[in-house]
Symmetry: C3
């Protein structure tokens, strides 16, 4: 399994769509919601966080189990960290990470200025980060990437999705998946 | 429990004093000393580090136990890292972190230039860090913050205590405590 | 045990050679190879990574055991991270770190510009990192240093091996070993 992470505006989705290899991409959030819905009848993602800690752990465990039964190479699409009012919430806390069999970790990022501009041009996004906040978020994500890699003993790659060069970024990701 | 950390000069104490909520603030170092004094008769903080590793672990365990018996919201005031002659000593090593029930982690910091100036104006401080050293220390603290958050699976916030705006920083902290 | 790490060109070897103290320096890679050779007949370092995960774990375990039997102060010379085609591979993953008894962690580094120039002047080195890549690698190493220190609860020091001042860097390292 390869875990691909990136903040909104980094272009993670575009980079994943540019993959030429026939690889199964699983969205962590979607998988978690599907399981929480079936088990505990939650009707939207926000309700997952309102479940008891024990129930959340059960969901997390089932997510990990589902992933472990996947055959062939899987790309897990998730967040390196989520910005919440209480701070940056790590996407791969130790107790989750311990249950995953990871071959490589990838952080898709871009120049903060480019991410900022891409977000400006996105009419759907409500809350905007300032450029300074974005730089801080990017730095935290890079530190978290190092943490996750040390935990799993697997390599960690930072792929820069430069303006107008998403194909190059896809090719870089493809190389990691193929090898 | 919310853990609040920050280097000397960042203004952690001022920010904590500015809290309007009636919240119990426990200083980790003081609590540790009180326990080590009662158990092993140490007479000052430096002696704690001279205890055998086993005794230090006992003290640490009792600190964690004491904290776990606290009712209501507790703010634990501690160091993200302590600068020692052998390097930066993490304030929340994994074996301690594993014993704590953490809701959120907060690093109070400021522009390195501001911290530097505040220290210059503080006649009590003996050893001064250069601006370069301070920047390194700040970067290590931010990386450690990410590590601690990934370990506990809790959010991590960086609060900037800007010059003359400690009330704003206190309000930010208060929001985290209240929610 | 003190663990000393650093990227090629940082001058780790020079700094270690400049130690005046009579200290035993063990190269992690060499020790690992010796054990893998004896146990599984590998004929070069690349073959270690081709062993089954289980065999690699056995080798790692024996490396840790060998190190634990060392008497007196030992300096373990290893990589903070190795740059591979799949990304930065941490030199001290958690499962290895958990087996080591570490007193202090040291990262020998230098100004990226200096490292870059030193590598330029080294005719033996094949793959070159650009200055930007080098800065990224250095940042990842510093984040990993913080991770390792938090894991072991030991201090972490960054020693700058400035151009023409390797003796000063050796003296700094010596102080950590002696105390």
């Amino acid at each position: 399994m390869i875990i691909v992470m990136g903040v909104p505006g980094a272009g993670k989705t575009t980079v994943l769509q540019g993959l030429k290899e026939n690889v199964r991409v699983i969205n962590y959030g979607t998988l978690m919601f599907d399981i929480a819905k079936e088990r505990y009848g939650v009707s939207n993602r926000d309700e997952i966080r309102k479940l008891s800690v024990e129930k959340q752990r059960t969901v997390q465990k089932e997510v990990a189990e589902t992933l472990s039964h996947e055959k062939g190479m899987v790309v897990l699409d998730t967040h390196c960290s989520v910005k919440t009012p209480k701070g940056y919430l790590p996407g791969l806390p130790f107790d989750l990470l311990a249950k995953l069999d990871v071959d490589a970790l990838v952080l898709v990022t871009a120049k903060p200025e480019d991410i900022f501009r891409r977000r400006e041009n996105d009419p759907t996004r409500i809350r905007k980060e300032t450029l300074e906040e974005l730089k801080e978020h990017d730095a935290i994500n890079k530190a978290l990437l190092a943490v996750y890699a040390a935990h799993r003993g697997c390599p960690a790659k930072i792929i820069y999705n430069m303006e107008g060069e998403s194909e190059k970024a896809s090719a870089e990701l493809q190389k990691i998946i193929r090898d």
